[in-house]
Symmetry: C2
Subunit: 430 residues, 2 copies
């Protein structure tokens, strides 16, 4: 497994076969994985216990945070949800071989635009025992081969789950080898990032630091987000109840999530009334509020904001007084991360301005930023959330793992006949 | 104009305003440009004459090829086609603000997926006087700001056309400043490639060398193709007439084009009969044929192939004998550039195998590779041809200059209500 160039090359070859498999074979492979995980639940739990023991030592030595430790556990419940997740992916429509259009270019010359897998995808994720099975399922369903590298804290759990998956795929008739590949070291990842001949897309799932490292060290397109600096703007016409409820949910429902709110912008015309209510509510639910000078002049005891482009990732946020929706939008476009931003307002003009001009993957009106999620959007599965401006933006479902090719069917047709005027293009969608 | 960071930042600000302009204003801007080009045809011709004089000297000194020189001229006919091209872009549907879906996530909580411009695009093109107007028109219609750098051989022509465009945009009511920006030096380009905070996409249009330089020197996504190594495979069941006609058109119709054929693969079972006919036809139309050992054993006097992944770009090609459609597909996936590849065959199984397994933007059956073109595909305009596996593949129309955002409309909706079971997702497309 040490020669990543070979692993990537073999994955590329596998991806070609995989790209033309029927949905039946792909679903049979998924079913075999789900069954094998069920049958081998105990061996996953045993491997996970080894990881937990090692992680406990690391926590005691101060080398691992408690919050990471809490995510490592793979008990029967977690394994059952992994299995449920695989069944969910089975139920999704096959995202490949969809004909996006069929067009007669000229008499007897037919062009089809057909979806197909991207090819080979490299996925780097941190310590979570459930990601390996989930990403493998998504890759299989979308017809992509993958190179996977998980966090070192779950190395035993991942090795066992990986073996279960590979054995299940080996038993699936017609399913090629080398579709799912596990990497083990940082050196493997570094080499993977340089295999731009074989690997078509990299998806990093983890900390800002991990994503930034990946973005800065590869020529392969990277799908994801380095940071999630989400804003809520309370407009002059904001309904205070909605604003307070939406902000509380956006911050507190899961403070560590990328779609939780980090900065609240408040229109100056409501600041005197709204801010004391807001700070009191935040204090009540244990959220620390830092403010700009104007905000600190209105409410005593706020911390000072050090940097606007800051992702707290915990129960803490920044507040700034702005003079208008225009200033709010400018602030968001300057300091935001293009993830998800919300306006709380009862004024249609302000809302339209905000929705059109905020340059983010998600622009919300009177709704919690926590809705930015593939499952909540109804995609059935989520590959990740992208703040890219090309390919896929926002929560990415299976579709984001596909591209398309053009198939042209002719009968010896040549371009010269069209240049000479002998034949004419009809360009008729059929 | 020397501080490209400022130019890029201003373009980004302009792109935000541009993204919400109505189609009427964008079309008015295009009409003003077309009118101004018509009115100032003489000044364009005068500037172009300066470029031609300088280029003539360069040709005489052997510093510029005749084929580049031939492309430099902007006479009245060429300017009229530029103007026609702008009218064509006016006629295209607005690619932004298209609602891709509207979905009720839950009662009263409505998600829309809406197309929008990418933002700021950097375009680098070589010496052609018509590209500046064409790209400007495409950028305006798709709502993207652009930084443009043309070949130095057309610097006078480009400067005059640029001034005409900017003046026309200044006269267009409601149209923001800084949408179209012209760069002048290699240093400007180098700095542009590092402005990944402001620039969202780079489109290089030119030689393999130019595209490779760009790909290797930026973190910004690059849309395009470095090379066009297109194949035609003559299957065992190929109709000889179709094969000969399609290969001739694919090579001779415009040998310098990226979609012209470079390698012909011939099934071994027809090689003895087909190859002599093929070589005789190629000789007749002035195409040099180089072959592998088997081909050279069948027909005398063929050159030796030096390298399979080679783009001749002129009337010369490689021929290789293969034992099956499988070998043909493997060869194409190994040595091709993922651009456009064709099978000539009367056997459905071979055709299906080829169309499914060749991993290229275009997979053709019995049709010239020269059809790979945005106009011929009926896109109305072409931004370029992409061999990328993400975002846009094959000939790219206006659509390739757009992405989408998610707009969520609520009434104070929070995620906690769904986690607690108080509310349920409906996920109903409406």
């Amino acid at each position: 497994m040490s020669d990543i160039k070979t692993v990537a090359k073999n994955a590329k070859n596998a991806s070609i076969i995989l790209s033309s498999l029927s949905c039946e074979i792909k679903n049979a492979a998924l079913k075999n994985i789900a069954d094998a995980l069920k049958k081998n639940t105990n061996s996953v739990i045993e491997a996970n216990e080894k990881d937990l023991t090692a992680a406990k030592v690391a926590v005691d030595e101060g080398k691992l945070s408690k919050s990471v430790f809490n995510r490592l556990k793979a008990d029967e419940n977690k394994i059952n949800s992994m299995i449920d997740g695989i069944y969910d992916v089975m139920k999704l429509d096959d995202p490949v071989n969809k004909v996006e259009f069929t067009r007669e270019l000229a008499d007897g010359l037919i062009l089809k635009k057909v979806t197909c897998p991207i090819g080979v995808i490299g996925v780097i994720f941190e310590a979570r025992p459930d990601v390996l099975a989930q990403i493998s399922a998504l890759a299989i369903k979308s017809g992509n081969a993958v190179l996977l590298k998980g966090g070192k804290e779950t190395v035993n759990t991942n090795s066992v789950i990986y073996k279960i998956i590979v054995d299940a795929l080996d038993k699936t008739e017609g399913f090629p080898k080398n579709v799912i590949n596990l990497l083990f070291s940082h050196e493997d990842v570094a080499q993977m990032l340089s295999e731009d001949k074989s690997i078509d897309l990299i998806i990093p799932r983890g900390s800002n630091k991990l994503v930034k490292y990946i973005q800065e060290n590869t020529k392969i397109p990277v799908l994801g987000h380095a940071s999630g600096i989400c804003h809520i703007y309370a407009d002059e016409t904001a309904d205070f109840d909605k604003a307070l409820t939406v902000i509380e949910d956006s911050k507190c429902q899961y403070p560590a999530a990328c779609n939780s709110v980090e900065t609240v912008l408040v229109n100056k015309n409501i600041a005197e009334k709204f801010l004391p209510l807001f700070v009191s509510k935040m204090t009540e639910v244990g959220v620390i509020v830092n403010g700009d000078e104007e905000a600190r002049n209105i409410v005593d005891g706020l911390g000072e904001v050090q940097e606007w482009a800051h992702e707290y990732g915990e129960k803490e946020l920044s507040v700034k007084i702005v003079s208008s929706v225009e200033e709010a939008v400018d602030h968001i476009n300057e300091f935001g991360s293009g993830h998800t931003d919300c306006i709380v307002s009862e004024n249609t003009n302000s809302v339209n301005y905000f929705m059109a001009r905020v340059d983010s993957a998600g622009v919300y009106h009177n709704a919690s930023t926590r809705f930015a999620d593939g499952y909540r959007y109804g995609f059935g599965a989520e590959v990740g959330i992208s703040t890219n401006k090309t390919h896929a933006r926002g929560p990415v479902g299976l579709e984001g793992l596909t591209i398309y090719k053009y198939q042209l069917e002719g009968h010896g047709d040549i371009v010269s006949d069209f240049c000479s005027g002998k034949r004419k293009f009809t360009h008729k969608n059929i």
